[in-house]
Symmetry: D2
């Protein structure tokens, strides 16, 4: 039709080849949402398990995702460097990951929470893509997220101990922690509440890592339909391992060199 | 931390000011999904109403969307030209619209369908943004989608009449329609099935238009917090009208000049 | 060869259709360069005429440029909204304009300056593209540049009068002008130096506008080679008018409605 | 002024950190230009030397360029991976390299050519940027250009031998070479003209490589002004070596590991 020219206004948004694509989703307004649905403070295990289940569902459906890392209301998905999924089109990747995640989160909510979702506050997520040219930068990205998880969790654990166990107002708890270092919070937790932070559950302290246990087969344009089908089939059977371990040090990566090829 | 430099790898993806932003979502693999959940052929009213409800929910939550148009498994959302929502960041807009839509679609499914969603085939959507510099191009965009709706629907109506009413195989129905023009299909529908295509429900022939019934207030950075709150409050009360009318001609637009400012 | 895959790393950088493309070039380090070649202060007519000649040369070679505006060490080139020059590829447009301008500037230098260029300080320019969706914004862009020309020129005229005629040091002249308004500078010029700023040459106060005196023919992909050749030939004969008039008000534009179509 | 908002329409075009930036310039319409100025066929040493001098001038002025490779009417400039030159802004890099190159080319023309440039056909160049995430891809890029140089030069050498020495028309020479392999052309050159292609000048067969003989100092934002000045000063003294050697194999790179860090 004479209107079709408008299609040409779409921009080609393919992402630079040869780089790791990370798609990170993050809950929209989970500060408010976690209040409405009365998430446990500071960490709600039901919420985390729902996040993890949704992330696993994304990884199962998108075979080129080799690793995912999540904590709080966010999850990062790492594509293999050579992925040609959706021709590396940014909006396609960003929206598909986000939509699949959201669908699973809403669908599986009732499996994890006794209270029902309310139509005026449904969970939703934003999503973005970031490129990392080398495995060094990719690992630093994941370290950044895990270090952030640690910092937030130590703070939140101490904060909510002061509020819920010691009865401080949120304002006073906040003030009490102003300017403190990690070591201060560790000591405070131990001296005031008998909590050894290192004994807190790893899922809270380290977040969650999902990894494919085997290398993902590439689907190349040069392959026959049969070869493609076989590779797709193989990929579908690769299992996902759920861990709450350190990914900042080298051990995790040395044991799984195939992830970064 | 020493890892924070990785944040700087995020690209600034703000969209050109002064243009209309259209975000279009489209169901992923709805060919397969509509079979699994046994959508009525060629048009499933339950599915369309679920789409419309989800689109209305997006419009309610994102005040700068002034119009939406949808048919089949897709919906286009038009932002006011001057929107500063999320600083016009492409990935934020694309993912937020998509996630809010998905959440509502999954959540409201059971209100429209008797059969339950199955965990191995949840609905999800992709999403993209396109810019149109002038109202002429924006209108041509919407005309393109509505013309597409018409073409597809006329084809599908005839195709499924041949299959379901006349007993042709899908292959034969396809062949019968090869090379036919609109007029041929109109005649075929009438002569063979006594169907006057123009009497088919408008929701099938024209798709669905959602419009805000009043101009949306701009939220400017120069406004005080109080002014912002008042504008936001006003916007929240603007109602959404659901129509199945022609948007290719001028009438619709002349009656609603405020939509394009 | 097995290396050709690297070509695919080139990004598609086509600019949004339907918008005005402005390419602005600006002299690199002309503060230093104007000292080395002893440009007259505050305005060197030879330098301005060399800029204008180079800009005209760009306009002559690139038929889709319909207007150019320049002052100081910068020039802005406006492409017709529908241009398909180089498929609207940003880097092609930005670099071609810049290179043609530079070539002419270096080549024609000796026509305007008695002193020769020195190999350790050749003139060069940077270049960028900006998109404007409507004629309103395009005109505001040009108004911005012309208003900037005025502000700088009034300042520079007063500054150099204080230094060269009244014998102030640059530091003292600077201080004398701190916090002054336009009206203050006008009065100072008049009372101290008997200069009526409005009588200063228009080329200094208004900059230079180059316009094609007739509408530029579009070269469409649907045209035959012969039609294309004829249009190209016609475009080549369109003359360029050089003006030093106001382009902020409406008069200029009303007389030349064809420029913005 | 009220016009300043138009500045915000400029897009942030910074290139992804951590990647090699290659800027390639290429002569505009050198097919025609080489005829007008009667370049020697197939290779004009004066033209090549002018290209090399202009490229060296670019390298001298832009300290973060660590290597350049050129042949025919093109030159590729490789920035160090960590460059912060112009904040990695694409248009700035593309236009500056192009303009400095053009200025030198026009300025130095008369040093290499007896005939003068004519104002209706001045040399100019286009320019683009491409990103390569790793040294493998960067080397493949350079290999691609050098392999291209070889293929073109072998073809041109044979073609012009047939035309200039054997008296074939250009059309017949073209036909004679249709479908031939490298080995065919080598043999033809030897049997018909007694030319051993491997004895042809290396500058024709391999193109030209310009390398900085020492690692370039980084200018970091965290450095003091004094440290920056010292680094800049050091960089300015680094010499440029001109070579016509193979850069596809490993030797060149192993001897100069510092180039790719
Ligand atoms: N009580 C509780 N709150 C949680 C839990 N996980 C996340 N949250 C809350 C704490 C934070 O307020 C919020 C996550 O912070 P964000 O920076 O993502 O902010 P939020 O989602 O509110 O805004 P955003 O839309 O992302 O800008 O979610 C949890 O397990 N328990
Ligand atoms: N039976 C039935 N099918 C529908 C209805 N609405 C949409 N569909 C189906 C028909 C098409 O096969 C499909 C929409 O076409 P698309 O081009 O979006 O393809 P699909 O979603 O399969 O793939 P995609 O992931 O978008 O590339 O959805 C409906 O109301 N009834
Ligand atoms: N004396 C004199 N100087 C001029 C004339 N036209 C331009 N200039 C000088 C004054 C300014 O210092 C400089 C233009 O300012 P810019 O902001 O473009 O700075 P500059 O080119 O030094 O640095 P840049 O590389 O553009 O960031 O050129 C002239 O006619 N006479
Ligand atoms: N005779 C002669 N011609 C040369 C020499 N170096 C380059 N050329 C000519 C041969 C080619 O026709 C042309 C370079 O090919 P290009 O693909 O860059 O084409 P051209 O510059 O004409 O068009 P363009 O504007 O780059 O698309 O320059 C030389 O040393 N001698
Ligand atoms: O979302 P946050 O708070 O982690 O921080 P951000 O990514 O810097 O902010 P934004 O979501 O606006 O990109
Ligand atoms: O999704 P379609 O089939 O309407 O067509 P498209 O938009 O051209 O395809 P894609 O989803 O790949 O952009
Ligand atoms: O070049 P200037 O000084 O006019 O100002 P700018 O355009 O803001 O700076 P830049 O050249 O760095 O884009
Ligand atoms: O310029 P060429 O001929 O080497 O080839 P290209 O780079 O594919 O073409 P363009 O200059 O149009 O990008
Ligand atoms: Mg955020
Ligand atoms: Mg959040
Ligand atoms: Mg968060
Ligand atoms: Mg699609
Ligand atoms: Mg679909
Ligand atoms: Mg569809
Ligand atoms: Mg500048
Ligand atoms: Mg300048
Ligand atoms: Mg300037
Ligand atoms: Mg080219
Ligand atoms: Mg060329
Ligand atoms: Mg070339």
């Amino acid at each position: 039709s004479r209107f079709e020219y408008v299609k040409s206004y779409e921009r080609d948004d393919s992402l630079l080849p040869g780089t790791y694509i990370v798609v990170r989703i993050d809950g929209r307004g989970f500060h408010r949402l976690s209040k409405r649905y009365e998430f446990t403070k500071p960490n709600d295990l039901r919420a985390l398990e729902l996040m993890n289940e949704s992330a696993a569902s994304v990884m199962n459906q998108i075979s080129d995702i080799v690793l995912a890392y999540g904590d709080s209301d966010e999850y990062s998905f790492v594509f293999k460097r050579s992925t040609q999924f959706f021709g590396r089109r940014e909006c396609k990747l960003v929206s598909t990951v986000c939509s699949v995640f959201t669908a699973c989160y809403v669908y599986s909510w009732s499996k994890h929470f006794a209270c029902a979702l309310e139509s005026d506050m449904l969970p939703s997520f934003d999503s973005r893509a970031v490129l990392y040219p080398s495995s060094k930068e990719l690992r630093d990205y994941l370290s950044w997220r895990q270090a952030d998880c640690h910092i937030n969790n130590l703070y939140n654990t101490t904060f909510w101990a002061l509020v819920l166990k010691k009865g401080l107002s949120e304002k006073d708890a906040n003030k009490a922690l102003e300017g403190t270092f990690s070591s201060d919070k560790n000591e405070l937790l131990f001296s005031e509440f008998g909590i050894n932070y290192n004994n807190e559950p790893e899922i809270f302290r380290k977040g969650t890592v999902l990894v494919k246990t085997q290398p993902v087969q590439s689907i190349e344009n040069t392959m026959s339909e049969r070869q493609k089908a076989r590779a797709t089939h193989k990929n579908a059977k690769i299992e996902i391992e759920q861990l709450h371990c350190d990914i900042i040090g080298n051990d995790f990566w040395e044991e799984r060199a195939y992830i970064l090829e």
